[in-house]
Amino acid sequence: MNLNTKATAQNTYDAIVVGSGISGGWAAKELTEKGLKVLMLERGRNVEHIKDYTTAMKKPWEFEHRGLLTEEQKKTHPVQIRDYPYQEFNESFWVNDLECPYTEVKRFDWYRGFHVGGKSLMWGRQSYRFSDLNFEDNKKDGHGNDWPIRYKDLEKWYDYVERFAGISGQAENWPALPDGQFLPPMEMNCVEKSVKSRIEEHWKKSRIMTIGRTANLTVPHGGRGSCQYRNLCSRGCPFGAYFSTQSSTLPAAVATGNLTLRPFSLVDHIIYDKETQKATGVMVIDSETKENIEFFAKIVFVNGSTLGSTFLLLNSTSAEHPNGLGNASGELGHNLMDHHFRCGANGEAEGFEDKYTYGRRANGIYIPRYQNMNGDKRDYLRGFGYQGGASRTGWHKDVAELAFGGEVKDQMTQPGMWTMGLGGFGESLPYHENRVYIDKTKKDKWGMPVLAIDCEFKGNEQKMRLDMMNDAAEMLEAAGMKNIKTFDSGSSPGMAIHEQGTARMGNDPKTSVLNKWNQMHEVKNVFVTDGSCMPSIACQNPSLTFMALTARAADYAVTELKKGNI
């Protein structure tokens, strides 16, 4: 490539952030606020806050298919249709699978959104801290490698990101789920309150139930409006009431005057310089024009989502890094994990027929992990937490089979019975053989090779699912529920959209890709702070931890840069 000096200067920044989702947004915010000139690259289109949430204020009858997908959409989105998130209500936020194929050695559901904000626009917003129980499990049971950090290393960064993002929740003083800097909690409904008190009484507080800790604002916060209880979050929030790149980190980064955001910028590879043993920048494919452009920087933050980031590192080969950038350990691409879920129990509540709720709460309840801790011992490793909630059935309630007519219609307009459900989210172990690699036999729309994914859940997860059902039924029973039914609807890796691992942190460069600062052991000016860095996944929803790790890594990176170490 013949770049003249002027073009090089124009394309040079202090830092490049690859990706604009939850962790990329945080990297851009932190680095720009510390005075760095930052280029944030996003492979997809721009989505402007509020203006581009084109369905957010639509009424139910304004959707042509009332949420259902057309046959056309099913054809172009064969992966995205495998579960509920892709709907007519938010269809523009999910990828056309035909444009970006991948190879499923075993079934892996890969849900993706190519646009500024990434999955921060569609995420579930549940925000839980990891505890030392989680940071120590790998070391204790020998699965995976030891985390290079402990809770004390991350605690102040959790504080820091929670204060900015705005997390509503209730402090519980539960050791396995540390409390945070909470905005006021959302309210439980009367059935949930009753279930909570009966479970906690029955198990003498060795199991607890709390309101979901969620990145929805219960009070105005940081110039953003509070939740309006519409429960339409995944369309984008015109009130800015949940944390997303657009509502939160992007405006902060823009306000510094130090940010350049470039959409339609698919990063092909990270450019490596063997003299300095550092990255000098990235080569981008303009995803509209397919033009190749190089950008340069002193630091590169890789935040392209778990598998997107690992793909980029695997695709960044050189004589010195023939198997992918910083992959001397051979661990890059390995230890892929996801939560397994869709398994639990539900029942019917009696005695609350004269009670109802007002507003649509985009949040449920949470029962943090209690297995394999505090003297509770199971025949599998690690554990699970529950999400769930109670509600009164609406027009979709059960009526007699295929019943119709005026009476049925009127019955369907009355609030039905109260039901309460608990669904487990289980930890999966880091298995070396659950891996991804580059498959050069296929090409995507942009001429890039594709990712092959070879991942499965195993016996430990399978065993855990029995308890996920039985414990849920047991708790609902203790809470006085009737007609309790357990369910296991099956769970394929990828479905939880909590895919993590494949570029893990660790103290030993021989067995890990990143050090305790999310810095590549072998390429000191490259940091990876999205889900790919995780040595284990606990059973909590992970995004809050990505935020904390990113803010911490950015702080370290700038300190090192100022010291002249990178």
Binding site: L68, R82, G344, M412, T413, Q414
Partner: protein, 213 residues
């Protein structure tokens, strides 16, 4: 557990994060053969019959029924755009059979027979559909390949797994979905609050309180 049940359970799991509308959305769907998007899938009379069928399923009571809410054209559009060819065929065949049967059993077109007769005829169709669905479920269970007995541990079933399309079941599902998400259904039969602004977890149920749409 059938798909409907699985979906409901999943709704629990999301802690009420799925709206009733969304759940309704899951109750149908198949994949593969391309949809016939032609505007001539239904004859003019068939379009009228669809409208009348919907209005028997959800008639006017103290609130307007399916016809007033425009559910007929909605069903026709949905069958054209959101259903695979086999379901479209089954639906057209169902309309033809309904008309034949109306003429045979009541001596006139479905469009001409009385409201009472329409209700009776659809009642028979409903009973037959329920019986067929049950027989099919029993057969599937007996043949030892139930959908959810998974070959691979943990694998999730196909959301759009092939199942036999029944005219009456499709018509009823789309009537319910179309009506309760229509402006009339959502605001008059149900209560629609676009921006609740707050969440009250425990309020006294008012007499005559309708479900929130």
């Amino acid at each position: 557990m059938d798909r409907r049940e699985a979906v409901k359970n999943f709704a629990f799991l999301m802690g009420g994060a799925l709206s009733a509308t969304t759940i309704g959305v899951f109750l149908d769907g198949c994949t593969s053969p391309s949809a016939n998007k032609g505007s001539n899938l239904f004859s003019e009379d068939q379009n009228l019959i669809i409208t009348e069928v919907a209005d028997v399923i959800i008639p006017t009571t103290k609130t307007p029924g399916a016809k007033a809410a425009g559910v007929g054209p909605f069903i026709a559009q949905m069958v054209k755009e959101c259903y695979p060819e086999d379901a479209q065929k089954a639906f057209v065949k169902g309309l033809e059979d309904l008309e034949d049967r109306s003429k045979k059993e009541y001596g006139s077109s479905f469009l001409k027979i009385s409201a009472k007769e329409r209700e009776q005829l659809l009642g028979k169709l409903r009973d037959e559909t329920v019986a067929s669905q049950k027989a099919e479920a029993a057969k599937t269970a007996a043949s030892g390949k139930p959908d959810l007995k998974l070959e691979k541990p943990l694998a999730a079933p196909n959301r759009y797994a092939k199942n036999t399309p029944y005219f009456f079941a499709i018509a009823r599902d789309l009537t319910m979905l179309g009506y309760f998400t229509s402006e009339i259904g959502a605001t008059q039969a149900l209560e629609y609050v676009q921006i609740p602004g707050r969440y009250d977890g425990c309020v006294d149920l008012k007499p005559g309180q309708r479900v929130y749409s």
